[in-house]
């Protein structure tokens, strides 16, 4: 699928992206700013037409069968904001009315969803009096209350404090047991924690896709050793060494070499951390190096 916006005809927002994913659990799209995450989600959520190519969800074409598809999807756009003169209950309740849910049923579903995201205490407070994170939770509650088969969440946790983010992760994990969630995020640990399948977009192209373990297999070295500043870096026989601006370092290497290097560093009294490579490492390997980061 390709998408070119008329305002910037020389640049492809999506450039021949082709992917297929089982509609269950959480599918996460990650990538740098301008990678095409939002464009892809907006096309799948029937808000935007692709320039070429097609996409199907549960066998329905996002352009030709949009009307049918809209019965089973819900979406929270990246920049969606609450209306200041409404309360959380009114916000979620109205959204459900637009979806055709009867008023009284909508109110009980709204109350339940707001409680789930931790806003039950402020449900009748005007949105303008809520914090930025609380307003974001209200928008998330609206799409969760919709109880749709497929829900698109474009950076839903942006602006949330760490505790609220964890709470929302718990809600999303619970919902993903029975619904399919498509999640875009800038927080790689979020995708690592929640996603069953991860797609990495890079400048409009699909750089890689798979489970975390499948993505790991794309990287040669599977272990990461992190060293604080001031620790002498031992000779690495097989692996890569990256040094940070403040003197800290990271060694990516294989299992045996990681064992050998760790033993050597520990003998020298260094305080190190050893782990399997994270999504950060994979992302940096696949996108960061190409992007010159």
């Amino acid at each position: 699928m390709t998408k070119v916006y008329s305002a910037s005809a020389d640049k492809k927002a999506l450039d021949g992206v082709s992917l297929s994913v089982k509609a269950r659990g959480i599918f996460s799209l990650i990538g740098m700013n301008g990678a095409g995450k939002t464009t892809l989600v907006r096309i799948l959520a029937t808000q935007l037409e692709p320039t070429s190519g097609d996409a199907q969800l549960r066998g329905m074409d996002v352009v030709k069968d949009a009307k049918m598809l809209r019965e089973i999807i819900a979406s929270i756009p990246q920049e969606a904001r609450t209306i200041p003169w409404m309360t959380p209950m009114q916000t979620v309740g109205s959204y459900l009315l637009w979806r055709g849910v009867p008023y009284s049923e909508g109110r009980s579903r709204a109350a339940e969803a707001l409680a789930k995201v931790g806003i039950d205490g402020q449900r009748d407070t005007l949105n303008r009096k809520l914090s930025g994170g609380q307003r974001r939770k209200v928008m998330v509650a609206a799409v969760l209350a919709a109880d749709s088969d497929i829900t698109f969440l474009d950076e839903p946790t942006t602006g949330l404090d760490p505790i609220s983010r964890k709470e929302l992760w718990n809600s999303l994990e619970e919902i993903s047991r029975s619904h399919f969630l498509v999640l875009t995020t800038h927080y790689l640990e979020e995708a690592e924690q929640l996603a069953d399948t991860i797609a990495i977009l890079d400048r409009g192209k699909l750089a890689a896709m798979g489970t975390l373990n499948q993505l790991r297999s794309l990287v040669k070295h599977q272990y990461s050793i992190r060293l604080p500043a001031g620790v002498a870096i031992p000779e690495v026989k097989d692996g890569t060494v990256t040094t940070g601006t403040e003197g800290q370092a990271q060694i990516l290497t294989g299992e045996e070499e990681a064992y050998r290097l760790s033993a050597e560093l520990l003998r020298a009294g260094a305080r190190i951390s050893v782990s399997r490579i994270s999504l950060d490492d994979i992302f940096f390997h696949l996108v960061g190096e190409k992007g010159g980061k």
Binding site: A45, L48, K67, R70, S75, A80, I83, W98, G100
Partner: protein
Amino acid sequence: MRGRIIRQLLASVLVNSVYAMKNYPVVLINTVLAPISFLVIVNFVSRGALLSQAIEGAFIMSMFSSGMGLQSDLSHLKNDFKIQDMVVSSPASPAAYVLGMALSEIVYSIPALVTLIVLMAAFVHPGVIEALELMAVMLMMFTTSVTLGFTLSTFTSDIVQSFAFSGLISTLFTTLPPVYYPITYIPLPFRYLAYLSPTTYAAEIAQSTTGLLQVSTISMAFAWVVLAVVTIVFGVIAVTKARWREV
């Protein structure tokens, strides 16, 4: 199915008018103020001679401004709050969404309309037939401005641009044309310019219907035709040009 459409209409009315009126009661005063203030000024300046024309003018301004209000409200919900994107990805149809938003503008104008109906009954005294004719004119005015507003909202990309359009068109169509006073007050060369605005025809019909202006039958028929054509043209533009899903 009918229940679902009613709920979708209700959602638009609640979001765009009822909750705003409930939570910010000052908007109730705001909707009355613009049409009534012109009415008061025209009445004072004419020493009461143009009170009836001014009441009808305030009605036309109120109906036209309601439609133009739709333009900025739709643009606000689409560009600033991204609510329209959420509604697009839902079972709500574009027709239900826009019709509901248009109804919300009427609800928003209820304080002004009630005030003007009372003034109309007290000072203009229209009969049943005249009242029906006035209602038809106001409905066409509203439909024209709603379709124009909806079309413009699909082209505006931010709220500043949207408010600028809304203010400009409201001034061009309701303040400058002879809506609050008879067209005969305008010197002849400029009278032709006034006929570029559909509100001029609406005012001419309203004033003629209630005996405030002597217009030939042909002129009246022509005014009705112009209003009908303008309403249909803007309606067709709205249906064909406006986009629910972006490209």
